[in-house]
């Protein structure tokens, strides 16, 4: 599997020096987020999504303190065995997750909707892991493309993009960095 990650160049420098860090922030729970695909032909698609994410994060002010705020795109190979993936796009898994969410969402109080959603994902994954007695290295989930995404094809053709949330950092092998200066 392939994963592409968009960020600012300062953060990319840090990743180049120290590798990816496990993030405790993310709407689909904790982990490192990539735009995911399996066919090399879709690299341009993932790249554009990564740039769109950087645009979105920059507008949000995520890179306000970074010295180099221009876009960097990081291309990776993700080595994850199929049995180590929890696929939220499997219809039965998704439907059961919706039922889980129905059971917990209104019963918990959080600071924000985003915090609740993120934590519900983590709690669900953690509960399933405890029940099975193993941990997942990755979750696969479809997400909305950022509003800043310049579509290469209509969404009606591509469907919503795949997001890989990597929970086992050893799965990530960085192939190359690309600095984007014309954004």
């Amino acid at each position: 599997m392939k994963g592409i990650h968009g960020t600012c160049s300062s953060y990319a420098d840090s990743i180049r020096a120290n590798g990816f860090r496990y993030s405790h922030v993310g709407l689909r729970g904790r982990g490192v987020y990539f735009w995911g695909y399996t066919l090399d032909d879709l690299e341009a698609y993932g790249r554009e999504l990564a740039i769109a994410w950087w645009r979105f994060a920059k507008q949000r002010g995520d890179y306000a303190k970074a010295t180099k705020q221009n876009c960097s795109v990081i291309f990776t190979d993700l080595t994850v065995e199929s049995q180590d993936i929890l696929d939220f796009e499997d219809q039965q898994v998704r439907e059961k997750f919706v039922v889980y969410s129905q059971k917990v969402y209104e019963r918990i109080e959080g600071k924000s909707q985003e915090e609740k959603i993120s934590t519900i994902y983590d709690l669900f994954v953690g509960e399933v892991e405890n029940t099975i007695g193993k941990t997942f290295s990755m979750i696969h989930v479809k997400v909305q493309a950022p509003k800043t995404y310049k579509k290469l094809l209509p969404i009606d053709l591509t469907g919503q993009p795949s997001c890989y949330v990597i929970k086992n950092l050893a799965s990530i092998k960085i192939n190359k960095f690309e600095v984007i200066n014309d954004e």
Binding site: S82, Q83, D84, I85, L86, D87, D90, Q92, V93, K96, F97, V99, Y100, K103, V104, R107, I108, E109, G110, E115, T119, D122, L123, F124, G126, E127, V128, T131, I132
Partner: protein, 102 residues
């Protein structure tokens, strides 16, 4: 993908557990996840519990704060030059640690 039936059966178990969980338990689970297991600590080793009862713990009390507790939870405890066990996190509230260490 992992055998889907195993995952689906596991999810069914999870759903059953959520049904039997009180709102308070669920909220505590949420907060422990969100803010870390600061507070209550469960000492797994029976020997350590015995030690706590029979010995002064003042010199062995670990400095506990929000940032350090998770690293401590993963470490083996050494006292009297013997390894006596490991601490393990559980769902808890802050005052319990205070009471235990006081």
């Amino acid at each position: 993908m992992m055998n889907n039936n195993i995952i689906l059966d596991a999810i069914d178990e999870v759903l059953s557990r959520v049904d039997s969980m009180s709102d308070e338990e669920l909220q505590m689970k949420y907060e422990n996840h969100q803010y870390g297991p600061v507070g209550r600590v469960f000492f797994e080793a029976e020997n350590f519990l015995t030690f706590l009862v029979n010995e002064s713990i003042e010199e062995y009390t670990m400095p506990i704060n929000n940032s350090s507790i998770e690293s401590y939870l993963c470490k083996t405890i050494e006292t009297h030059h013997e390894l006596i066990g490991q601490v393990k996190e559980m769902s808890v509230v802050n005052k319990d640690v205070h009471q235990l260490a006081a």
